[in-house]
């Protein structure tokens, strides 16, 4: 690694932004990112599972709470999430959750889920929501820790060489903005070509020798302007 200078310290209140700054700074500092090993990946794809479907049906058929049911609970026995959260500081919450995620058994489960097509977002939601229902974190903290946990799950997926979904089933999803950018480039190129062609008056005499067969060129000269009329041009009224 031919590094020209030390990386500058980066600080941002947005993890994605910090990551972007660090990578760009690393690139500017001479870190060759192309050295990073990247092997062919296993595609995380949804696979039909009758057992899973049965579980889902069983879960759904259990019914749900009647509206207002929670108000009938005794105030002396509140649910965990109805009490002050255990972690008021999101940093502590992240530490606690990461410690659990990095347990071997948990890693194995995460890999299993990613390989079966579960998305990073869904896994992060399942983890954070579970922590919320346990009374560990508040809904606000849940949102704050979502991004870091998604990154951690992504890194586990990367280390496991799995091509994972980030949100829903988006592995093969085309990037709309990128497609739009490419379309814009294409349109601009077409416009340039149009403008260039129109600005030049194409006449048989202007053509370079050898580009068009001489016999064909002579025919064009003989036929005169009528041959240059488009086949799709509107016919003149008789």
């Amino acid at each position: 690694m031919a590094q020209e200078r030390q990386l500058k310290p980066i600080l941002s209140n947005n993890l994605t932004d910090a990551v972007e700054q660090i990578i760009l700074d690393a690139q500017a500092a001479g870190v060759d990112l192309d050295d990073i090993e990247d092997k062919p990946k296993v595609k995380g794809q949804f696979r039909d599972s009758p057992e899973a479907l049965d579980k889902l049906v069983a879960l759904k058929s259990r019914g749900s709470a009647i509206p207002g049911q929670s108000l009938t609970n005794s105030p002396d026995q509140p649910y965990p999430w109805e009490q002050p959260a255990e972690f008021a500081n999101p940093r502590d919450a992240i530490d606690a959750i990461l410690a659990q995620i990095l347990q071997p058994e948990a890693v194995k489960q995460i890999i299993n889920a990613l390989a079966k097509g579960a998305s990073v977002g869904d896994l992060a939601m399942a983890i954070t929501y579970a922590k919320f229902t346990e009374g560990k974190i508040s809904p606000d903290t849940m949102l704050l820790v979502m991004e870091p946990i998604m990154y951690l799950i992504m890194s586990i997926g990367e280390e496991a060489n799995i091509e994972y979904n980030i949100d829903n089933d988006d592995i093969d999803e085309e990037d709309e903005e990128e497609t739009e950018e490419k379309l814009e480039e294409f349109r601009a190129a077409v416009e340039q070509i149009k403008a260039g062609v129109l600005s030049k008056e194409v006449k048989p005499d202007n053509l370079k020798s050898g580009v068009v067969d001489k016999a064909l060129l002579d025919k064009v000269k003989q036929a005169g302007p009528e041959i240059r009329q488009s086949l799709l041009a509107r016919e003149e009224d008789e």
Binding site: L11, V19, L33, I36, E37, L98, V107, A115
Partner: protein, 300 residues
């Protein structure tokens, strides 16, 4: 749950934006590599040094590494996956993977360290020395190599003792797991050359980087370094005493600018501030357990 879905979309959009941004700067790199870099840098920032074991040094022997290896059979056993690729194959040579490279430039690991020899890390010798905190002579700490009793040699035979400068018959004292004992020819008797000294140091470094104590010792080592510097600048004979108004005389402890504690003070770096911030400049970055408590101690 709609608001959570929005959070995913935001992250996803952000990641795609970073991929595009990096792609614009680095034309030849593949998108897959950019995504991998993004994920690993993000995870390293989030976990600080805590995930070094998982994402860099000693990957194969870490708990997460073992889990990944254990999951290999599971993944390859899946009907579709089995024939497609061989994930985790790189674990055979875990060092030098993408994660290692990323943690290298983030300063969490070093390439040499991942390859087994960390020449940037000084070894952790311990010998009887003056403790500026207690004001007493103290012996080597737990986890340090006891230089007072160290005999560089292995097996039985005549070996050179750099401390005494004498050839001695030793019955073998290991420097650490997986380290070949160092022995010298009789030609070196009585003189410790610079080359010999460096060889010994290099061997100890190998031992230190290879054994658990050595790695754990790094945290203590930082504290030791601070204490060493402190000691260097604090001649016990020259400790200044301040005179408060009146007749009270302040003791030296009050004037100590810094105290280093090996105990576990109740300091939580997360209490520094409650706002979530990320990056290599953040207080929480590299704040793994290894570094968190043992090296930072407030005035007692």
């Amino acid at each position: 749950m709609g608001f959570l879905r929005k959070a995913f979309k935001k992250v996803k959009k952000g990641i795609k934006k970073v991929v595009r941004g990096v792609k614009k700067v680095v034309k030849k790199i593949s998108k897959s590599k950019i995504l991998k870099t993004i994920a690993l840098v993000g995870a390293a920032l989030v976990t600080g040094g805590a995930a070094v074991g998982a994402f860099g040094g000693q990957f194969a022997t870490s708990a997460v590494g073992k889990a990944l290896i254990g999951a290999k059979n599971f993944i390859t056993g899946l009907p579709v996956v089995g024939t497609v690729a061989k994930p985790f194959e790189f674990l055979g040579a875990a060092v030098g993977t993408g994660a290692g490279k990323v943690t290298d430039f983030l300063g969490v690991t070093s390439e040499a360290g991942r390859l087994g020899v960390d020449t940037s890390v000084d070894f952790n010798f311990g010998s009887t020395s003056y403790d500026p905190i207690s004001g007493e002579l103290v012996g080597p700490q737990s986890g340090q190599i006891n230089m007072d009793a160290m005999n560089f040699g292995g097996g039985t035979g005549t070996t050179y003792n750099p401390l005494t400068g004498q050839l001695e018959t030793s019955s073998g004292v290991g420097l650490g797991a997986g380290t070949a004992p160092v022995s010298y020819s009789a030609g070196a008797k009585g003189v410790t050359t610079e080359a010999q000294r460096q060889t010994i140091q290099g061997s100890v470094r190998v031992a230190q980087s290879n054994n658990l104590l050595g790695r754990i010792g790094q945290g203590f080592r930082i504290a030791q370094d601070v204490a060493d510097v402190y000691q260097q600048f604090q001649d016990p004979e020259m400790i200044q005493q301040g005179y408060a108004p009146g007749q009270a005389v302040e003791g030296p402890s009050v004037l100590d600018p810094l105290q280093v504690s090996f105990a576990q003070p109740a300091v939580n770096l997360n209490d520094a501030y409650n706002n979530l911030q990320f990056g290599t400049g953040d207080v929480g970055y590299l704040a793994s357990d290894l570094y968190r408590q043992e090296t930072v101690g407030g005035m007692v």
